[in-house]
Amino acid sequence: MSSDSTWAAEARRWAAEAASVFVKEWRCEFRTRYALNTLALFAFTTLVVVSFSLGPLGVMKSQGTSVLPVLLWIILLFSVAAGLPRAFVQEEESQTATALRLAATPSALFCGKLLYGLTLVLALEALVTPAYLVMTSLDVASPGLLAAVLAAGGYGLAVGSTLVASIIAQARSKGTLFSVLSFPVLLPLLVLAVELTRGAVTGDPGGVALPVLLLYDAAVTVAGLMLFPVVWNP
């Protein structure tokens, strides 16, 4: 049917738009290295501080399983807060947002920025997690579950941060405001992710927590797709 083919063609064009936003973000990023440097520097500095303050003998095994997963997610959370909001703040500050508002379809723009944020977070996790496990001598009983938590939790961090970044980019005092606004939104994600990470370390499957985390990811994604056009355009 012709209506099906136009729908498919429209979807393809939409996807191409989102993809071009994604490509543009990474192209600019590779030429400036700003976000990558910020994230990596922040993450490794925090990592060293954590490892240093835990001491050369590390943490007792019994305390380790309750404390160390929390610290990992704190490192990830603060690294993301340091490096991700720039995706929208930079557009407003360099005044490229005007051109973007006139040219882009909001939902495609949101998805392109989200994908960029997601790849940043996943890259961050890939760098930080092995280093963290080594530096804290933490043994993980089920690496599969840990990978799943990092993926689902990382996605949650990306989608929540992208949406909040788009809100604060249009306000004053963006740096502090991002932390203030994103923390309540990301708190359920962090609680679930820490619980599941603990489960991955001890080998306990964690029951209903992983589906709930995925539900959170889905809910915030839908909210983002619906709310971003409101945030973006007057």
């Binding site: 909040v164 306000a171 004053r172 309540p184 939104v185 679930l192 209903v208 959170y216 945030v231 007057p234």
Partner: protein, 219 residues
């Protein structure tokens, strides 16, 4: 009409207070049974705080649909009142926790959840403070309120299920089954209704005050 409502409200709440101390029995299962009377105030305050959130979300949707500044103002006032009732609920809860378990704060999931909700309210108000243009402020605040609506149920309903809770199950029970003395239920629900009515009455007053304020300061 409004004066009649105000009088009815005062009478209702007075009856609730009397009922809380003379009609309802104490809960014998508590360490200090007399302290259980706090439930008639602490729980409805928490309910009203959450009511503020729902009201703000509804007003936010209405604002986004019609872009009427009065709806934006109503949403902001609802959050302010939600914050007020939430702080009261947290404080009364801490007092109760001290009496019952010996510590003001235990980081049990319900206490943590209401604290997170308060952080959300404060964040919403901080956002409003950071945007000067009224149209942009209304739009961004409404979006954030609705994002909060999507996220908060995860805190309230899911976190307590997953982690162990110190909160007394028979009294503050999320699964719906209530196993308490009927007289306690009567006063509790009457109080809940009273606090909800109080919320809307104060909300209405505050919106009218703000409207007058704006009219006065407009050139």
């Amino acid at each position: 009409m409004k004066t009649l409502f105000a009088w009815l409200l005062w009478i209702w709440i007075s009856l609730v207070i009397v009922g809380a101390f003379f009609y309802a029995p104490v809960a014998e299962s508590f360490r200090v049974p007399g302290s259980s009377r706090i439930v008639f105030f602490h729980v409805p305050m928490a309910w009203s705080s959450f009511l503020g959130f729902i009201a703000a979300a509804v007003w936010s949707v209405r604002y986004l649909l019609r872009r009427d500044p009065r709806h934006d103002r109503a949403a902001a006032v609802a959050i302010q009142l939600g914050l007020l009732f939430g702080v009261l609920a947290t404080v009364t809860g801490a007092v109760w926790a001290r009496i019952e378990w010996g510590a003001w704060w235990n980081w049990d999931p319900r206490q943590t959840s209401i604290l997170a909700a308060l952080l959300f309210y404060a964040a919403y108000l901080a956002l409003r403070q950071s945007v000067d243009d009224p149209e942009k402020r209304g739009r961004l605040a409404a979006a954030y309120a609705l994002l909060g609506l999507v996220v908060t149920p995860f805190l309230f309903w899911i976190v307590p299920r997953i982690t162990f809770s110190l909160h007394p199950e028979p009294v503050v029970n999320a699964s719906g089954k209530v196993e308490m003395d009927p007289r306690i239920q009567h006063v509790l629900y009457a109080s809940g209704l009273g606090f909800a009515a109080l919320f809307f009455w104060v909300h209405n007053l505050q919106c009218r005050i703000l409207t007058l304020w704006e009219r006065k300061s407009a050139p």
